[in-house]
């Protein structure tokens, strides 16, 4: 299938998952077209906090997160771009003994499952990693071999490498209707109709419409997690830091600026691509940052932003084949923690589409969990 508008695989959405799946499918020799209503990385994939984090993940996600981490560790070899990826400890600070006990319990469970990437930090170990942390913090949970990357640079690098391998991107092209004709899928857009043997829905916050058209509606909620960034500060933090009892994600970038998020939500308007900040809520983020790092009392915010992301009711993504149709697949709804999983999910989706199976345990992420009672 080498017609201009046809390919072995049609991907809807050029976020990190769409770009990664396209790249990996091309590596397997498939012809791929990616259809994107805006430009690659315009939304959550390009503007998230950039955490490359296994720490604290939901248990079913850990095998895929682990698979992804292996790709991250050699991301430069895959993409010819370092993606700004840096290894760095990820630490969840415990502000009291009860929080620390919760972490101990989690580590015990993980060890039973055979995972050993998360460890408990005592108060003195915490302070050794985070000299600027507030005295009231009693310890923490850490994954010392995690890291962070620059989200837009990463998504853009996936796109460029995919293009190099022959993937065709149609940006500013909005998928409107999906229909099936014999063995082929057709995606009708405002810029022509595309045809392909397989279709992959990576449309993030906009994915729900396509699941509806496929007859397996999934409840994707568009959300707008809010982020703020400060002006440059003297270096005081070399880890990506979260809190346990309240929302926080915190890191100091190489240039000294501090990026603070944590999942508090603004208002998402997926129809216009707009997202609105709610500073009454961000107040809490500011308070938490100052409480955990008193040095932040002196910080100045220079910008805030948000990217529209798709969230599922159980905060778990949909990953896998359609429950109804052959050759239709989904990877969306990463619920504000999909960036780290992008490389791995793309790889396993390409595997699944090309071979019909994958070794990664994707059963917990099946789309039918929303349509069936089970």
């Amino acid at each position: 299938m080498n017609n201009r508008l046809s390919a072995d695989l049609l991907v809807i959405g050029a976020g990190i998952h769409g770009c990664s799946a396209a790249l990996h499918a091309a590596k397997r020799g498939m012809s791929v077209i990616v259809i994107e209503k805006d430009t690659a990385g315009r939304h959550a994939s390009g503007v998230n906090a950039g955490g490359v984090r296994r720490l604290g993940r939901l248990f079913p996600e850990i095998p895929i997160s682990d698979r992804s981490m292996k790709i991250w560790n050699n991301i430069g070899d895959l993409l010819d771009d370092d993606c700004g990826f840096q290894k760095s400890p990820q630490i969840k600070v415990a502000e009291n003994q009860a929080e620390l006990e919760k972490h101990r319990e989690r580590v015990r469970k993980l060890n039973e499952m055979g995972f050993h990437h998360e460890t408990i930090l005592s108060r003195s170990e915490l302070q050794a990693h985070l000299p600027a942390v507030s005295d009231h913090c009693v310890g923490g949970l850490a994954s010392l071999e995690d890291g962070f990357a620059l989200p837009y640079q990463t998504t853009f690098a996936f796109q460029r490498k995919a293009i190099e391998l022959g993937v065709r991107f149609y940006e500013n092209t909005r998928a409107q209707k999906i229909r099936r004709d014999g063995t082929d899928w057709h995606v009708i857009t405002d810029n022509g109709t595309f045809s392909g043997r397989n279709i992959l829905n990576c449309a993030g916050a906009w994915a729900g419409e396509f699941t509806r058209q496929l007859g397996e509606p999934a409840p994707v909620e568009p959300i707008a997690p809010m982020m703020i960034v400060t002006s440059r500060m003297p270096r005081f933090c070399n880890a990506v830091v979260g809190a346990t009892g309240r929302p926080l994600s915190f890191k100091q970038m190489q240039n000294g600026t501090v990026v603070i998020g944590g999942g508090l939500r603004g208002i998402a308007d997926p129809a216009t691509n707009a997202s609105h900040m709610l500073f009454e809520k961000l107040r809490q983020t500011a308070q938490t940052a100052i409480a955990i790092f008193p040095i932040m009392q002196k910080a100045a915010i220079v910008r805030s932003w948000s990217g529209i992301e798709g969230r599922m009711p159980d905060d778990m993504p949909v990953i896998g084949p359609s429950s109804i149709h052959e050759n239709a697949f989904h990877a969306f709804g990463f619920s504000a923690h999909g960036f780290q999983m992008g490389p791995g999910v793309g790889e396993l989706m390409a595997e699944l589409i090309a071979t019909g199976k994958t070794n990664s345990p994707i059963e917990p992420f099946r789309i039918s969990r929303f349509t069936n009672s089970c």
Partner: protein, 462 residues
């Protein structure tokens, strides 16, 4: 949270005139302004200026006195030292009061009267200490009576000559004027002369300034190009070509100017539509005949609506207030027509000036090694490289290179980045668009955010 019929941001001529006219029509008005006293940049320190300094600054400047006095007496709530850092779609406005924490108000109509900023002038050496802008020199003069006695003025535009004249009057003439207006501009501009002649007083003042400068003996270099500032840790010399020769003027200070452009941070934040104005070489908010933006109840008065000068700014401010009053049921049509007529007459000079003093092409499209984003130290060459990789517009280039992500939020690089991308992609500038602007509009202390009211319902004494 206190509510007003009209919130006006900025207390320059547009903001002051708008407040006067709105209160006269019975509207409740709040004016939020960053400066300690009314006047804006053009009439800065107008209430406190000494007679000696007033003589240097001239009669056009002093025209601001009556306006400021009328503004003080108009009954509007005036908050000085107020830095607006966010405005949401419901016209709730957050502002910071110089170290005293943040307050919030709401309004039915918003008048953005934040005026103009000087066009960024990227060129080799423009980030060296000792390099400033003509507007900044004038602020020092207005606010503090300070004049540097070792300055080379470089660029183009009426403000450059005004500052030179004022320095001359203060007996600290600039070392030299290096004019970057390309040859032949006067001929191009001549076709706008007939209309400009209807605004003869402006032409007469301009000619008088040029005559005075000419007679003063200040070295003047015309049609300068290949301009660069030399220096390692601070500015040491200006080098350029003029009249077929290379020149080098040693100096410790350089003031640059390439005209002014609308300050579009607030209209961008509020997602108002903008259009590229090819005559003024800048984006201008898309406005109706009454200066309303594409967002209902949001107006732009003054130079923010397109460069028009101080007299037009005040007229626009009045017109906007009359229009808002009309929408609230007052009969103001006759007065609106009167203001519209005066506005048209005052604008007659603009096409002539815009053609004559169009910005230097060297500044619009700097060479690869010139720094464009000062906050993040990104060069023109890096921007072109990002475009070559496939980044289609300013927001992708921003995400990729971080240009426009620093404390100035793109004020200093945004216009250049758009221009470079348009040129490199061979597109119209208007198609390329501009950075998305995000709150806070100005840096905000994290501790101040931590202390804002979680439910903004309290009554704040103003």
């Amino acid at each position: 949270m206190k509510s007003f019929d009209v919130a006006i941001i900025g207390a320059g001529p547009a903001g002051m005139a708008s407040a006067i006219e709105a209160t006269r029509n019975g509207l409740s008005v709040i004016v939020l302004d960053e400066q300690p006293a009314p006047g804006g940049q053009i009439y800065r320190a107008i209430e406190t200026v000494s007679d000696q300094r007033a003589a240097i600054l001239g009669t056009d400047y002093l025209a601001g006195r009556d306006l400021a006095a009328a503004f003080r007496n108009c009954g509007a709530t005036y908050v000085s030292g107020a830095t607006v850092w966010n405005i949401d779609n419901g016209l709730k406005i957050n502002y910071s009061r110089a170290g005293l924490g943040s307050d919030q108000i709401s309004a039915t109509s918003l008048v953005i009267a934040t005026g103009a900023i000087e066009r960024p002038t990227p060129m080799p050496g423009w980030t060296l200490p000792g390099v400033t802008t003509a507007g900044a020199l004038q602020i020092l003069l207005k606010a503090h009576g300070a004049v540097n006695d070792d300055v080379v003025l470089v660029g183009s535009g009426p403000l450059l000559y005004l500052v030179a004249t004022q320095m001359l009057t203060a007996r600290y003439a600039p070392r030299a004027i290096v004019e970057t207006t390309p040859a032949g501009r006067l001929i191009k501009a001549a076709r706008h002369l007939p209309r400009a002649l209807t605004a003869f007083s402006y032409l007469r003042k301009g000619l008088a300034m040029k005559r005075k400068l000419h007679k003063s003996g200040i070295p003047f270099y015309a049609n300068a190009r290949a301009v660069a500032i030399e220096g390692t840790t601070t500015a040491q010399a200006v080098i350029f070509q003029s009249g077929g020769k290379s020149h080098r003027i040693e100096t410790t200070a350089v003031a640059l100017h390439q005209g002014v452009i609308p300050n579009q941070q607030i209209t961008r934040l509020l997602r108002c539509e903008h259009d590229w104005n090819a005559n003024q070489h800048c984006f201008v908010p898309r406005l109706d005949a009454f200066f309303q933006t594409t967002v209902e109840n949001i107006y732009v008065a003054g130079d923010g609506a397109g460069i028009g000068g101080a007299v037009s700014a005040a007229l626009r401010g009045r017109l906007v207030a009359l229009r808002i009053a009309e929408k609230q049921g007052k009969d103001t049509i006759a007065r609106q027509n009167d203001v519209l007529k005066k506005l048209k007459a005052d604008q007659a000079i603009r096409p002539f000036l815009e053609t004559l003093y169009a910005p230097s092409p060297e500044n619009l499209l700097p060479a690869d090694d010139v720094m464009v984003c000062r906050c993040e130290e990104i060069t023109a060459g890096q921007i072109r490289h990002a475009v070559d990789l496939g980044a289609p517009g300013p927001n992708q280039v921003k995400s990729y290179l971080r240009c426009g992500m620093g404390p100035c939020q793109g004020r200093m690089c945004g216009p250049t980045v758009t221009q470079i991308i348009a040129d490199h992609r061979k597109k119209e500038v208007g198609e390329i668009d501009y950075y998305r602007i995000r709150p806070p509009l100005k840096p905000l202390a994290l501790a101040e955010l931590a202390a804002i009211e979680s439910e903004p319902t309290r009554h704040t004494p103003l």
